[in-house]
């Protein structure tokens, strides 16, 4: 085996599963029937509008456009026909003015006969702007004109999580595709497929994959990453450990159920010294309070024994705390406040 082969193998080994199991064609994209159906039609006619993909993370937006462009141009041609820019590239207004514009006005390269035979090879280029919501407003405005001027030979595909952060003039130039959260079965199937491919030993006693999906909240990328992390961790022990729910939780930074239960109990106890002590303990354990809040939210809001008026107040407190945490406030004070406030209304 030559060094390059070895290297190639190593590289494959290091590749995140997210990349490894990226859908190769549109049919593989899970759960986004609506968008896929429309895109397939464009594949047949080879006519593509400007597109704006939006939706929560891990629902397959980037995968879809990558698969689409691959299917349109084939591996060789896509090098010269597709430009992918994401937030890690410099994307200030200067780049929009120079790089994007230059690529946009390049004359399209001629496809080779083989490519023509195998792929539709429509006469335009595709510029993919991933994570477009992190572009500055100036840069976005600079795009407006470029999009129109070169629409003859260039299609843009903007990908973002929050459509509100795309300026209206841009959004109105694109046909929008909303990517919804994966439904449970599709996600589960995908995970099962990966687990089989990677030969994972799962804990048979509990529905591990389902738990993975629950923890990641429908975000397939998250779910796959958790699975990979957990498998790495379990593989590295001397005797291969089974991937258990607890392992997944630990790698995902999700608090143990016991902690949440205990916290709720202490809060119900209404003794402020006890609350303060337990909160201190949680803080010293290093848990993420934002995670705790979302778990606490699930716990309390779904609890049928609490009447809805109380739930209302709890929800307001949760919101306040989350907002303050987002503003960079201190976790300890905020958690203590949250616990005391909840104990007040319960």
């Amino acid at each position: 085996m030559t060094t390059t082969d070895q290297y190639e193998e190593e590289r494959l080994h290091h590749t995140p599963w997210v990349e490894k199991y990226r859908p190769k064609n549109l049919d593989d994209v899970a759960s986004q029937e609506h968008a896929v159906a429309i895109l397939k039609r464009t594949l047949a006619t080879a006519n593509l509008p400007h597109m704006l993909f939006y939706g929560p993370p891990g629902t397959g937006k980037t995968s879809t456009i990558l698969a689409l462009s691959k299917q349109l141009f084939g591996p060789n041609l896509s090098k010269s026909r597709v430009l992918e820019l994401n937030a890690s590239d410099e994307r200030g207004i200067n780049i929009v003015r120079s790089k994007i514009k230059n690529f946009a006005r390049l004359t399209i390269s001629n496809p080779t006969p083989e490519d023509l035979a195998n792929y539709p090879c429509p006469p335009y280029k595709i510029i993919i702007l991933d994570e477009a919501d992190s572009m500055t407003n100036d840069a976005q405005s600079a795009l407006r004109r470029t999009m129109e001027t070169y629409s003859g030979m260039t299609r843009f595909c903007l990908i973002c999580n929050y459509i509100t952060r795309i300026i209206d003039p841009l959004a109105s130039r694109c046909s929008k595709f909303r990517f919804k959260l994966l439904n449970n079965d599709d996600g589960l199937n995908r995970l099962k497929y990966i687990a089989e491919q990677e030969d994972l030993t799962l804990d048979q006693e509990e529905p591990v994959l389902q738990q993975v999906l629950d923890i990641s909240g429908g975000d397939l990328r998250k779910a796959i990453t958790y699975l990979q992390s957990a498998s790495k961790l379990s593989n590295s022990y001397d005797e291969h450990q089974e991937i258990s729910g607890k392992l997944i939780r630990e790698t995902a930074g999700v608090l143990y159920e016991e902690i949440i239960d205990e916290l709720v109990n202490v809060i119900k106890g209404k003794n402020h010294t006890q609350i303060s002590n337990y909160v201190n303990e949680i803080i010293l354990q290093g848990w993420s309070i934002q995670q705790l809040i979302s778990q606490l939210h699930d716990k309390l809001i779904l609890d049928d024994s609490i009447d809805s008026l109380t739930k209302n107040q709890i929800a307001i407190n949760l919101f306040e705390t989350d907002k303050r945490l987002n503003n960079g406030s201190d976790e300890h004070i905020q958690l203590l406040n949250l616990s005391l406030q909840i104990s007040k209304v319960m």
Partner: protein, 360 residues
């Protein structure tokens, strides 16, 4: 090597004394040769950095301890020169984004691209050597203070260069880390050592150093030291060492006041004052003290937090405590959003006084 924090710092994973399960995982990871990006979080003084360096030691051998400081220069897009320090060994480098101010995104992008590309060039040399690791470790300290921009930039970079760079992000809390990064890294939570952990470490050291005690019942004494330092191991060691330097023979019952820091005592007294003398004159007096504390590099938010917990301790009424904590949470948010800390500190004191008045 003169201070105990230095002297008794574990160098290898085997020397680590607590959190065995984490140590086991790290050991397993370093043994497998593969190594995902890590996000290591936990309270300060819990031993995050120590664990990282132990892990690196496990992987690369002791040469990771051969540290040096490089000064790197970058020219930003606005043509300004930007200098910052990089702590590095042959196998890793360590950066602290707060050195870079608003330009952290550019710097991190450039730096990582730089490392990634150079690493690929001398890949052949490396494969011939004994170590089979083709990646270089980049430790990013205080990752929670990275701007959103920089974090967004990181998320793609992490995937792109995953074949020859491994990132280790270190932070106190992952609340400020954006979700994409969390999902791309293996989270390792390092809790503070428990009181018993610290106690056993302290007693180990006192045996090794031959510290003399006047009595044999030391457990309560150690517990006092570790509680006073809020289970921050680093601080516990420093305070214990200070204690031993002040007294030839330590009398566990009596002389512990020395490990209380001046500024903590001051804040405690402020709390007492708030409880007893609630008037404008006190408020004015407290303002001057706040100014003094601030000028002594005590961050405003630490002052607020310490003050709050001191107040809670001396006030028995649950309702008042609830109100006070609520106030603190409001003012802490203002402190983190605003710039004029003195306004908010004084505001908190004024409101606390009013609250205590109301329930009296």
């Amino acid at each position: 090597m003169s201070l105990w924090v230095d002297k008794y710092r574990p160098k290898t994973l085997d020397q680590l004394l607590y959190h065995d399960s984490i140590t086991q995982s790290l050991k397993a990871l370093s043994k497998s040769g593969d190594f995902p990006h890590l996000l290591i979080y936990g309270p300060s003084g819990a031993g995050k950095k120590t664990r990282i360096y132990c892990t690196l030691n496990e992987i690369f051998g002791s040469s990771v301890e051969k540290l040096k400081i490089d000064v790197k220069t970058f020219v930003t897009s606005s043509n300004r020169k930007l200098e910052f320090n990089v702590l590095s060994s042959p196998y890793h480098l360590e950066i602290t984004p707060s050195d870079m101010g608003n330009n952290d995104r550019v710097v991190i992008q450039d730096l990582l691209k730089d490392i990634a590309s150079t690493e690929q060039v001398d890949f052949n040399n490396q494969s011939s050597s004994k170590t089979k690791h083709r990646f270089k470790i980049v430790i990013i300290n205080e990752a929670d203070s990275l701007s959103r921009d920089a974090q967004a930039a990181l998320r793609r970079t992490m995937e792109k260069y995953s074949s020859n760079i491994r990132l280790i992000l270190v932070c106190n809390s992952i609340s400020n880390i954006i979700a994409p990064i969390k999902s791309r890294t293996l989270l390792v939570r390092i809790p503070s050592p428990s009181i018993t952990d610290i106690n056993s470490i302290l007693s180990n050291i006192s045996v090794k150093e031959g510290i003399k005690f006047s009595s044999n019942d030391l457990e309560p004494f150690y517990t006092k030291v570790s509680t006073a330092s809020n289970r921050n191991l680093r601080r516990a060691l420093l305070s214990f060492e200070t204690l031993t330097m002040q007294n030839e023979t330590i009398k566990p019952e009596t002389n512990l006041s020395i490990i209380n820091l001046d500024w903590e005592v001051i804040i405690k007294n402020i709390a007492n004052n708030i409880k007893t003398a609630r008037n404008v004159a006190t408020l004015a007096k407290i303002r001057t003290v706040f100014y003094e504390l601030l000028s002594h590099c005590i961050p405003a938010r630490i002052i607020l937090k310490t003050l709050l917990f001191n107040l809670i301790e001396i006030i028995p009424d649950v309702r008042v405590v609830q109100e006070l904590v609520n106030l603190a949470s409001v003012f802490d948010e203002r402190l983190s959003l605003g710039q004029k800390s003195i306004f908010h500190l004084e505001g908190f004191v004024a409101k606390s006084m009013v609250t205590i008045d109301q329930y009296n």
